[in-house]
Amino acid sequence: MALSREQMAQRVARELQDGFYVNLGIGIPTLVANYVPEGIDVMLQSENGLLGMGAFPTEETIDADMINAGKQTVTARVGASIFSSAESFAMIRGGHVDLTVLGAFEVDVEGNIASWMIPGKLVKGMGGAMDLVAGADNIIVTMTHASKDGESKLLSRCSLPLTGAGCIRKVLTDLAYLEIENGAFILRETAPGVSVEEIVAKTAGKLIVPDDVVEMTF
């Protein structure tokens, strides 16, 4: 079975370490906050200028001046700080964020990522994604392995305009966890009950299947 959005978030959360500063993108990455392992304390960075994002507010504590990068109303946790956009991206660009998790339309074997526009169809803008991928060393991309029509999103070369070049080394899809090394995807883990054959069939870019591929457990 392909991983649910929650399971993908759960799997990413296993990469969290005590004391990490983490930036979570919109969508599945946001859900990672719900699965921070017991005994681990992390600070969530929201690029609109909040370090230490807390839970969503209640109806009573909702505040229009307190939002995250997805424009959702949030709270600040104890130990949080708030600052300008320039300061926020100094943290990001300066490599101070320990883990960045974000979505994508496509990734390729060179570590390129495309996530911000589909020419002629969809223009949402890059927001902070280009700064995040250029500034971070430790990035996990979360995405579905293939489109609804079965077209692979793990390619030899991205077909869409890039968000960043050569900056992605870890990809979690609904079918597998893969790393990118030396111009190939390396299969590290499979989703429970998903066959290596299915992953091979749905990966358009060069894929290496080592002997020690692990099946994820939840």
Binding site: S46, E47, N48, G49, L50, A55, F56, P57, T58, E59, E60, I62, D63, A64, D65, M66, I67, N68, A69, G70, K71, Q72, T73, V74, A76, I82, F83, S84, S85, A86, S88, F89, I92, R93, N112, G120, V123, K124, G125, M126, G127, G128, A129, M130, D131, A134, G135, P161, L162, T163, G164, A165, G166
Partner: protein
């Protein structure tokens, strides 16, 4: 408004001198911390051909989105179009010139503009369409592109509290782009929820020192919420 007293009483005074084809820097992220009354007054003024620099362009019917209705904006420099249909439509049909700029680069362009730095190198956007036509270099094995600073004829800013010296504090994440935009306007206008007596704002808590600010006006704000998200109590 005289000497170090930056207060003005009307929005006419606040935006006096704003004319066609000027560049306007606007603070705000989404609808959070936007100078909503100054934007509304730009609509009333009817000035056209504006270049607007802001992370977003409001939403349909609120914030900077209302300046798209009468095509007052010729060029938009922003990082995110989002769910603003009129923005996306005018972009796709070529009516509106749009320079999509990475969010951190946009903030730094204004920071640099206000700080007298004409341009800077950044890895952000290297190898992407953002890099097209820009000088590239390598520092310590890292590929970077040259990005130029931005300044504006006007900066329109939303603060929380100000004193008559133009010292400003922002409330929570309504800070966002406001302090950087405030530094980069030839004329910087701040609208606030409260104007306090001199000395009430402590020197240690000022976000934007008054030297950057030319006019301060008291406003009332709707503060619309874009994504109302709550948990159960």
């Amino acid at each position: 408004m005289a000497g170090l007293d930056k207060r003005v009483a009307t929005y006419e005074e606040a935006l006096a001198g704003l004319t066609d084809n000027m560049t306007v820097l606007a603070g705000g992220f989404g609808l959070c911390g936007i100078p909503e009354n100054l934007i509304a007054h730009i609509k009333r003024l009817g000035v056209k051909g504006l270049t607007v620099v802001s992370n977003n362009c409001g939403v349909d019917g609120f914030g900077l989105g209302i300046l798209l209705e009468d095509r007052q904006i010729r060029k938009m420099i922003a990082s995110y179009v989002g769910e603003n249909k009129l923005f996306e439509e005018q972009l796709l049909n070529g009516e509106l010139e749009v320079e999509l700029t990475p969010q951190g680069t946009l903030a730094e362009k204004m920071r640099a503009g206000g700080a007298g730095i004409p341009a800077f190198y950044t890895a952000t956007g290297y190898g992407t369409p953002v890099a097209e036509g820009k000088e590239t270099r390598q520092f310590n094995g890292r590929n970077v592109i040259l990005e130029e600073a931005i300044t504006g004829d006007f900066a329109i800013i939303k603060g929380w509290k100000a004193d008559h010296f133009g010292n400003v504090v922002y409330r929570h994440t309504a800070q966002n782009f406001n302090p950087v935009a405030a530094t980069a306007g030839k004329i910087t206008v701040v609208e606030v929820e409260e104007i306090v007596e001199p000395g009430v704002l402590l020197p240690t808590e000022i976000h934007t020192p008054g030297i950057y600010v030319d006019r301060v006006i008291l406003g009332t704000f709707e503060k619309r919420i874009e994504q109302r998200t709550v948990r159960k109590a």
